[in-house]
């Protein structure tokens, strides 16, 4: 007799036998590590995870995960994952995408994914550059960026991904960064737990074509001053010595000094408030400008009330079966009116 011993899964169980081929020093390594750290702890059999990606550096991700995976075509992972999840709601489906894959070539599917809200997770690696095609500006690159395809500076005004996702009716919208493993793990876990589409924007450094794009938010020396770590139910405090805060003056956010203003008067982060999430998503200033707001990280918005697309689709099927009985093929083929020829 054999006794099946169920060992607890470890991150090693989620590592495939394929050699990881991102450039040394790429932010992608950290994200892979955090996902492989979080997944074993979710109490879910490994075979239920599916990673679907499009094209781009980030989209190599599924090859390195020892789960089910599909490395598809540029921009379409969202659509493929929607079809998979809609018909197989038992699976835990993850989309791995980049700023170009999701918001440029896949922009249409991306916004429709968010409004439909199937229960899946999106890891959006934002490095503000096209890495795989060797360094052209992306839809999130800052205007005026000098790249291979924009020697005189790019003309395109960039997307604000978080604002875009809120506008597209996303039900879970969050931001984290490659260089903060703890924060990343917490956000990934929360994304997994959210019932609906979880959109996680991850600031990811491309050390070859856009090195240091997020340095000001990730470097120890400037992080506290330049980032705003949001926590539900907590006042919005930031600064080197946690001495600054955000206060709402009507609909207008203002930065205040906690030496002058009581912490009790600060804006208290409420993830369920779409209006406030919309305001805070607009903290997107160039950190080099005078009087700029800190860049927020954490969960901007969660809506737990909206039904998921996959649930609704499968409920309709179940309802139809309950109402009409399991379809009778012969009745279907015969239709409403028949006649007999003798």
């Amino acid at each position: 007799m054999t006794i099946e011993v169920t060992n607890k899964l470890t991150s090693k169980d989620f590592s495939s036998d394929q050699e990881v081929r991102w450039c040394p020093g790429c932010g992608d390594y950290s994200i892979l590590k955090q996902v492989q750290t979080v997944l074993p702890d979710l109490g879910r059999p490994k075979e239920e995870f599916v990673f679907v990606s499009g094209i781009g550096c980030s989209s190599r991700f599924p090859y390195y995960m020892d789960t089910f995976g599909m490395h598809s075509i540029h921009g379409r992972a969202t659509a493929i994952a929607t079809g998979l999840k809609s018909s197989r709601p038992d699976l835990s489906v993850w989309i791995v995408t980049g700023d170009g894959d999701s918001m440029s070539i896949g922009g249409n599917h991306f916004i429709h994914l968010l409004r439909r809200n199937p229960d899946l997770n999106v890891l959006l690696f934002n490095n503000q550059i096209y890495g795989l095609t060797k360094g052209q500006y992306s839809p999130t690159s800052e205007q005026g960026k000098v790249t291979k395809s924009s020697p005189m500076g790019s003309l395109d005004h960039p997307f604000n991904p978080i604002a875009l996702c809120l506008g597209a009716e996303g039900t879970f919208v969050a931001r984290t960064m490659d260089r903060d493993p703890k924060h990343q793990q917490a956000i990934i876990r929360r994304g997994y737990e959210h019932k609906g589409t979880s959109l996680i924007e991850i600031y990811q450094n491309c050390n070859v074509f856009n090195d240091g794009a997020f340095e000001i938010f990730t470097e120890k020396s400037s992080k506290k001053e330049e980032t705003l770590m949001m926590e539900h139910g907590k006042p919005l405090v930031f600064g080197e010595n946690s001495d600054k805060g955000i206060k709402l003056d009507g609909f207008k956010p203002v930065i205040v000094n906690l030496n002058d203003v009581s912490v009790n008067d600060l804006w208290v982060h409420d993830e369920t408030d779409l209006v406030k999430a919309t305001i805070i998503s607009r903290f997107y200033d160039n950190p080099k400008t005078e009087g700029h707001f800190p860049r927020p990280f954490g969960v901007f918005y969660v809506n737990n009330d909206r039904a998921t697309y996959d649930d609704q689709l499968n409920i309709q099927v179940a309802d139809a079966i309950e109402k009409y009985g399991v379809g009778d093929l012969d009745k279907l083929i015969a239709g409403r009116e028949t006649w007999v020829v003798n």
């Binding site: 659509a79 493929i80 929607t82 998979l84 809609s86 079966i321 239709g335 007999v340 020829v341």
Partner: protein
């Protein structure tokens, strides 16, 4: 009043009016009643793309043609015997296809100064007055006036009353051709069950039309078209898209796989979506995607998850799906791609038929990307070939194109439908779960059909990755190895070629197995070519007709079959597509015969062309 009954073998009636006149509904109702009566029939709805083109104009004319008879009917008829013209524009557009001496039933109200002006009829040239209709049997009926009179105490407004006009015409034609009206009365009751007043009004006008025929000298001649002697069995009337949707559901039942249909609305394919969305109790999931690309990609996702995955569109949509068809080819997942062809390129003529997407199906992707291609030849054949497309996709783990066209998609015919137990079984086997001690799962290992195993997410021990990058054979790992790419390219082609072992031989549809000339057709031209061939054979020509339903791969005997004829002619509604492939593959000096007018072949034009070639 005495009437004279004349027995006729077959008749072609064309209902023509403004888009808002309800001609399609009138035609469909007449079709159903005629089918139930037992005639063989074929129909051709011919309507504009505009939902409501400017009222009364030539652009807004919508027509429905039905050919029915006591004999075998293969086409909706080249010319009509009877033309119903609800307005001047309808007459102007359709009279060219009316037989000399044919009957024209005219709604005189549609020839008032305003309608004449809208139809661009020059001042003083009213066809009802200028003698231009002298060669025809013209029957003038003031349909509008009589309808209004019949309903003046109905409580309905003039607009609603005028909407019942088509029922008057239908009742009159039912009278002329001895059709029962009960079926339509039942239909009206069902359609307007929430609005009793409108239901009553329509029924009243339908009966008024019948009574008008019965009491007016004008319609003293009635026609008897006896039921056709058709093969014994139970029949229904069926349209191509309707049949295709049922064929897909049948494949889902037979394969025991849930059906997933990812698509984006497009003319003339949308009816498949409409039908499938009603079949949810067959475990059918329809997904109206944000665009064509998402339509096919969602289906690819569903195929990965173990569904019977299908996407459907028309030519422009298929163009958008091209990259994803390539992906499905690389993934070696089962996928059915439906193309209800229409006149192209670009938007082309959305409601007009064409067969110009065969080369697109064959070659319209980057890289070497062979797929299986089937094409239905008639409305009811859409059922069988949609089913067959699913069966091949599932059993060979391969994308399969199912081609139809606007003509058979919207056309109807009687169908001696099959019993589900007589349909072939579809064998699908998923890879079983594995434990650690089992040998490692190889996603690109192959069986005798070269099909790879279908391993579903959620199955223990089968974790694997697939993708659009070239795969190493057997392991499925990414591979840029030179020899492997050539091997995989050849394997993907061979996989398609091997399907030839599982499909029927090509048959001669009419005529001898050898002769002077073979008419080699494909798709919706079947009826017209069959009729033409019979005419030619009856006239003593050594002509045969074969119609190819399996276009990639071809039936194994096709080359030999063609070799028995001195000449091979390939008539197509395009600029020469099958003929290119035939010449390339078989080195046969086949002669193209092309019509690119958005209209089906007429049998007599095919007859003339073949005679010209034979001469």
């Amino acid at each position: 009043m005495s009437t004279v009954d004349t027995n006729i073998e077959s008749v072609v009636i064309r209902f023509a009016g403004d888009s808002g006149d309800g001609m399609q509904l009138t035609g469909t109702q007449f079709t159903n009643s005629t089918a139930l009566f037992g005639n063989d029939l074929a129909t051709f709805p011919d309507f504009p793309a505009e939902i409501r083109a400017p009222l009364g104009t030539m652009a807004g004319v919508s027509a429905f043609q039905i050919h029915f008879g006591s004999k075998k009917i293969n086409t909706p008829g080249d010319e009509s015997d009877v033309l119903v013209a609800m307005n001047a524009a309808a007459l102007k557009v359709n009279i060219k296809n009316l037989k000399k001496g044919g009957v024209i039933i005219i709604n005189t109200d549609g020839f008032d100064p305003k309608n004449l002006r809208l139809a661009n009829v020059p001042e003083g040239q009213n066809p009802l007055e200028n003698g231009s209709l002298a060669g025809y049997d013209v029957k003038l009926v003031d349909v509008t006036k009589i309808t209004r009179a019949a309903l003046n105490d109905s409580g309905l407004g003039v607009k609603e009353i005028d909407r019942c006009k088509n029922m008057f015409v239908l009742g009159l034609i039912y009278y002329m051709y001895h059709r029962p009206i009960e079926n339509t009365i039942e239909f009206i009751k069902g359609k307007f069950k929430k609005n009793q007043v409108v239901a009553d009004a329509n029924i009243k006008v339908l009966q008024a039309g019948w009574n008008y025929g019965d009491t007016t000298e004008t319609f003293a001649n009635r026609y008897v078209v006896a039921p056709a002697s058709m093969e014994a069995g139970v029949y229904r009337s069926v349209m191509g898209n309707e049949a295709a949707a049922m064929g897909l559901v049948a494949a889902s039942v037979k394969s025991k796989l849930p059906l997933f249909y990812g698509t984006y609305p497009i003319t003339p394919a949308s009816d498949i979506l409409h039908d499938l969305s009603k079949y949810k109790n067959f475990n059918v999931r329809t997904f109206q995607a944000e665009d064509e690309i998402a339509g096919i990609c969602s289906s690819i996702g569903a195929a990965f998850g173990g569904q019977l995955a299908i996407t459907g569109s028309s030519g422009p949509g298929i163009a958008l799906k091209g990259e994803a068809i390539g992906l499905a080819t690389m993934l070696e997942l089962p996928l059915v791609i439906i193309n209800i062809q229409r006149a192209g390129p670009s938007t082309g003529m959305p409601t007009k038929t064409e067969q110009a997407d065969l080369l697109q199906a064959y070659y319209g992707r980057n890289g070497e990307c062979p797929v299986v291609i089937l094409a239905a030849q008639s409305p009811s054949d859409c059922f069988y070939l949609a089913f067959e497309a699913c069966k091949i996709a599932l059993e060979h783990m391969i994308p399969v194109f199912f081609l139809s066209d606007g003509y058979i998609a919207n056309g109807a015919e009687p169908w001696k439908f099959p019993n589900s137990k007589d349909l072939a079984d579809i064998h699908v086997e998923f890879v079983k779960p594995r434990n650690n001690e089992d040998e490692k799962f190889m996603p690109y290992s192959r069986d005798e059909k070269l099909a790879r195993p279908w391993a579903l997410p959620g199955t223990k021990g089968l974790e694997h990755r697939i993708g659009g990058i070239e795969k190493q054979n057997i392991t499925g790992n990414i591979s840029y190895d030179a020899a492997n790419h050539e091997l995989m390219t050849k394997l993907r082609q061979e996989k398609v070629d091997l399907v030839a072992n599982y499909i029927p031989d090509q048959k001669i549809d009419a005529g001898d197995e050898s002769g002077d000339l073979l008419i080699l057709g494909w798709g919706g031209t079947y009826g017209a070519l069959k009729t033409a061939t019979q005419i030619l054979i009856n006239e003593g020509h050594k002509v045969s007709h074969a119609h190819v339903r399996y276009l990639s791969p071809f039936p194994k005997n096709l080359g030999e079959l063609m070799s028995k004829f001195k000449t091979v002619v390939v008539p197509e509604l395009n600029n020469g597509q099958l003929v290119k492939i035939i010449r390339d593959k078989y080195f046969v000096d086949a002669i193209p015969y092309n019509k690119i007018q958005g209209q089906p072949f007429m049998s007599n034009e095919v007859v003339s062309k073949i005679k010209e070639i034979l001469a």
